[in-house]
């Protein structure tokens, strides 16, 4: 079905179910409980999971398949965001033209950068992409926001002002991005007993786009083109001996992943119509690299997991403060409570970077294949446990 084999179809189905039911899955704790702190099912974070998931899926098409490590992918995301906001400013708040233009502009931009950067490989390629992205960031942050020629609005971020043309903006339309009248920030909150679940229009737009993007990436992975890209990764010289020129294929992969980044940028602007320059900084490019490696390079689902992991920490762990800790451990005797809080204190709130850094190291040391390998190991362990229950312990090595 859909041109996929059984395994891929299952994977796609799982992803589709997970994204569509995310409002339930991400809010497992009752809204008033102490554990509600760990709920991630509010619109903004769910949108972010999806958007960075798309970004990482696209990045993985380049890095996972061809092995070319771009350190400047955030530039495409940023360009996509700027393009979208400009569409909001000039045409109307409808997200469709905005997202389309974001993809197109990011595509063109990546043709340009890819064409130049792909003349080199290995770390030289990485540094070229980094250089282009940093240049874009520096220009967007200051030079391109000077009062005479304000393309990016610099530090504050590009946003829609009342006096912008917005030629197709309807009289009684609200000032917020919408999909033919469905506003991206409209949310329906469903209360089930103590639980509360948010269904957000913007989230579902992102979710549908991501399922499509994920489907496309499976098709690319399984296509002859995908095989070709893998051949580039494993042995480029041998590939060119067979008479195939690797560069057009790599460039195609680069542009596709640039367009994914543009799509992510466009969606980001659609969810929140403001585009800041720091989206293009090297730290942002580094983040998507980390997401992909953390999740599992070259796997289909890995980058999405990695994106979710990092964004979860950024948004949930950074918000836990001492007051909350004291609430959690209030049941302990005073001295012990303070001690426990004292021990945990460096790792939460303003220490969330520390926790993230430690987790990076743990994952890469113990799970060389990223989070996906962790999942596989758990799967195997469950299976083997099941087996050992059936057949007696005699098959186990005596250790």
């Amino acid at each position: 079905m859909l041109g996929l084999n059984k395994n891929d179809l299952t994977l796609l189905a799982i992803v589709a179910v997970l994204t569509l039911f995310a409002p339930f899955i991400l809010n497992p704790f009752p809204a008033d409980s102490a554990m509600a702190q760990f709920n991630a099912g509010y619109p903004d974070l769910m949108q972010r999971f999806i958007i960075f998931g798309i970004f990482a899926i696209g990045f993985n098409i380049l890095f996972g398949l061809t092995g070319y490590l771009s350190f400047g992918h955030a530039a495409f995301l940023g360009v996509g965001s700027y393009a979208s906001v400009w569409m909001f400013k000039l045409l109307s708040y409808n997200v469709v033209p905005a997202i389309l233009l974001a993809v197109i502009v990011a595509g063109l931009f990546s043709v340009l950068i890819g064409y130049v950067s792909l003349r080199r490989s290995g770390i030289y390629f990485s540094i070229l992409t980094l250089a282009f992205a940093q240049m874009s960031f520096a220009l967007a942050y200051s030079v391109l926001s000077n009062p005479r020629f304000n393309l990016t609005n610099g530090e504050t971020g590009l946003q829609v002002y009342k006096n912008d043309p917005q030629i197709f903006h309807g009289e009684n339309m609200q000032d917020f991005p919408h999909f033919f009248g469905i506003y991206m920030n409209s949310t329906h909150t469903m209360n089930v007993g103590a639980w509360s679940f948010d269904f957000n229009a913007g989230y579902y737009l992102c979710a549908i786009v991501m399922i499509l993007a994920f489907y496309l990436s499976i098709r690319i992975f399984r296509s002859p083109f995908g095989m070709m890209l893998r051949a580039i990764k494993s042995n480029q010289t041998r590939m060119s001996y067979t008479g195939l020129n690797p560069r057009p294929h790599t460039l195609a992969a680069f542009v596709i992943s640039g367009m994914y980044a543009g799509l992510a940028g466009g969606l980001m602007a659609a969810m929140d119509p403001l585009a800041g320059a720091e989206r293009m900084q090297w730290t942002a490019s580094g983040e998507v690299v980390l997401m992909t490696i953390l999740g599992g390079t070259g796997t289909l689902i890995g980058p999405v997991l990695g994106a979710g992991f990092i964004k979860y920490f950024e948004n949930i762990f950074s918000k836990i403060n001492d007051t909350i800790l004291h609430q959690w451990f209030a049941f302990l005797p005073d001295g012990i409570e303070d001690f426990v809080v004292f021990i945990i204190h460096p790792f939460i709130g303003k220490g969330w970077h520390l926790t993230l850094g430690i987790l990076f190291m743990l994952v890469v040391v113990f799970l060389p294949g990223g989070l996906v390998e962790g999942g596989q190991r758990i799967g195997k362990w469950i299976k083997s446990r099941g087996k050992s229950d059936d057949s007696t312990a005699s098959t186990e090595p005596a250790e």
Partner: protein, 340 residues
């Protein structure tokens, strides 16, 4: 004319910081084949050796002065450094005054220890892993080191002044009959860097140890077949690289007050320097460091920014692109390094 010379001096000064960090990076890469994203953090730890020593030396006991009041109206607590009461106020004060140069003595063992622990404890398990994994693990390590420093020293920069004798400016042009004032400590920094760079090169060039390491960089397997334990030597090289970055940090502290993220600020630039110089090439790293430092200084002159607005923001990256497109392996890179 003297404006030009001033900018060259500034460039050499910036360049020496870039060169020292890049030297260590390329050394680690050339010997161990590891892309070390934690190298900036080593530079930062070096700078914080200087901060720690100056704090340690100023470790004080508190006496209460009833005649003065603090901001809440309570009697003022006066802090006197132990060192002043042990060595007398004058000698004590001058020891504190010279804390930055003194911290070189602290930094060398600390950095070697940090380097050895890093290499034996973590990096060694990543020789055979993909570069991507190395990046993730060293980046994680860099964040952890950074956050530890932030936890103890805060996020605000900490002023670490040079000794009084080395503050102020000297007129370098006096001998030639024109006015060319330049800060003393920056002159010290440049000379110190030149010394360290020369030291590293001499070590690699003229000692047997260095010879083996260079042979190992060229062909690791053959050297291994000769019965030499090349891994052990590479470990030592890692410690030396860490030490070079650390010393660069110590001496940099008086130029700009250290903060916990200074390593990250230098990390990207030093990678650009290494690659422009040519991955795995030591002279390349030094050359590129000074070249980019000087170009950066020139690009920040009013003349340059009025001709090409924004050039000061992008010059380094622009140069990197031009160099890499005209010279595929950087200025002095070897074929086959990091190209798979």
């Amino acid at each position: 004319m003297d404006a030009l010379i001033l900018q060259i001096l500034n460039g050499l000064d910036k360049g020496s910081a870039y060169a020292l960090i890049a030297l260590g990076l390329t050394l680690i890469f050339g010997t161990l084949g590891v892309v070390n994203f934690a190298h900036g953090a080593l530079f930062m730890i070096g700078a914080f050796c200087a901060v720690s020593l100056s704090k340690l030396l100023q470790f004080s006991y508190v006496t209460i002065d009833e005649t003065q009041k603090d901001f809440l109206g309570n009697p003022l607590k006066v802090e006197t450094p132990y060192i002043e009461s042990w060595f007398g106020p004058e000698l004590g004060a001058s020891i504190i005054d010279w804390s930055v140069p003194l911290s070189i003595l602290l930094a060398i063992p600390v950095m070697i220890l940090v380097g050895l622990i890093m290499e034996r404890g973590l990096i060694k398990h990543f020789y055979k892993r993909e570069h991507a994994d190395q990046i993730l693990v060293t980046f994680g390590l860099a964040i952890v080191l950074q956050e530890i420093v932030k936890y103890y020293f805060g996020a605000n920069p900490i002023q670490t002044p040079p000794p009084d004798a080395l503050m102020g400016v000297s007129n370098l042009g006096a001998w030639f009959g024109f006015d060319l004032p330049y800060p003393n400590w920056r002159i010290v920094y440049f000379c110190f860097s030149a010394l360290v760079i020369t030291g590293v090169f001499a070590f690699l060039q003229f000692t047997t140890f260095g010879m083996v390491v260079r042979a190992g960089m060229a062909d690791r397997e053959t050297v291994g077949l000769l019965g030499i334990d090349i891994d052990k030597r590479f470990t030592v090289m890692f410690a030396i690289a860490a030490c070079v970055a650390g010393l660069a940090g110590v001496m940099y502290a008086p130029i700009n007050p250290p903060n916990y993220h200074m390593g990250m600020d230098f990390l990207v630039l030093s990678f650009v320097v290494v690659v422009v110089g040519g991955m795995g090439s030591l002279p390349g790293a030094v050359l590129a460091g000074f070249l980019l430092g000087i170009l950066e200084s020139f690009a920040s002159t009013t003349w340059a920014t009025t001709t090409l607005p924004g050039i000061n923001q992008i010059i380094i990256y622009l140069v990197a692109i031009i160099v890499l497109l005209t010279r595929p392996r950087g200025l002095m890179g070897r074929k086959g390094v990091m190209e798979e």
